[in-house]
Amino acid sequence: MDRITIVKGSLEICVLSILYKKRSYGYEIMKELEKFNIKLKGVGSIYPILTRIKEKELVNVSKEFGEDERPRIYYELNDKGIEFLKQEIKEWHEIQQDIHSLLTKNANNLKEEV
């Protein structure tokens, strides 16, 4: 199974969920995803997702300077983003449930073999 394709499709919701917990910046979000084995090594990164959610106005963006004067772009989920995430999670669970039902009905015995 092409794990990358599946991860790509769910990446936005994953990023939004991280930002729901706390505001963060690109590199930190990427490392948080890696903790859950959600990686996109070699095929781009989460940065296009960050641009997209910014364009959709789901996050507030601020630039801050660390102790080493290195700038970081922080993303913070706003009300529109929370509402969007809520809808996306609902939809994601529905799709997951549908696929689960289909697989259980048609190929449940294969699951036990694995």
Binding site: K8, Y25, G26, Y27, M30, L40, K41, G42, V43, G44, S45, Y47, P48, I49, L50, T51, R52, K54, E55, E69, R70, P71, R72, I73
Partner: protein, 172 residues
């Protein structure tokens, strides 16, 4: 934005921005990508990690960026501008400096050869002037001047050729 990137890192960023620009991505998106790339490269350096492990090749990043970040409406207009990804420049498997030196050498010898033919009677059958690539005159200063002029013209033409090449090819 404060950026202290190495030449390699700068080249990586500029390759991505170049692809995005060639594909007609708007400056605001390109600026966004640039800021993100610089931030990530700096963070990866602090963690002693190779930034390319996360970001992938310039082509991968740029394609992923265009497919993911850019709004659907903008993507449509991008596709109309570039019906496919052939707009990307092909990469020449040679370093820019090396290509410049090779071109300069070729141009220089061509000019030097032409100078000897033009300014000496070497082609005149009965004149008995021996051919010598670096000897146009019996005066050393005049020979040196011709060499200098030819070298300068060769450098100028090589620069111009590289500029023309860079419109069609990406030189590393």
């Amino acid at each position: 934005m404060k950026s202290e990137l190495t030449a390699y890192e700068k080249q990586y960023v500029s390759q991505i921005l170049d692809i995005l620009k060639t594909s007609g991505v708007s400056p605001s998106y390109r600026e966004d990508a640039k800021v993100q790339l610089i931030e990530h490269i700096n963070e990866a350096r602090i963690q002693n990690e190779d930034f390319r492990d996360d970001l992938g090749s310039p082509e991968d990043f740029a394609l992923h960026f265009m497919d993911t970040a850019i709004a659907k409406e903008d993507q449509k207009s991008l596709k109309m501008n570039n019906s496919n990804h052939q707009a990307y420049k092909k990469e020449l498997p040679i370093k820019g400096t090396l290509l410049f030196l090779i071109l300069s050498g070729v141009y220089y010898f061509l000019f030097q050869f032409s100078s000897v033919l033009l300014f000496t009677p070497v082609l005149a059958p009965d004149y008995g002037f021996a051919f010598h690539l670096f000897k146009v005159s019996n005066y050393l200063w005049w020979n040196l001047l011709v060499i200098l002029i030819n070298v300068l013209i060769a450098f100028g033409l090589s620069g111009l050729t590289l500029k023309l090449f860079s419109k069609k090819y990406r030189i590393s």
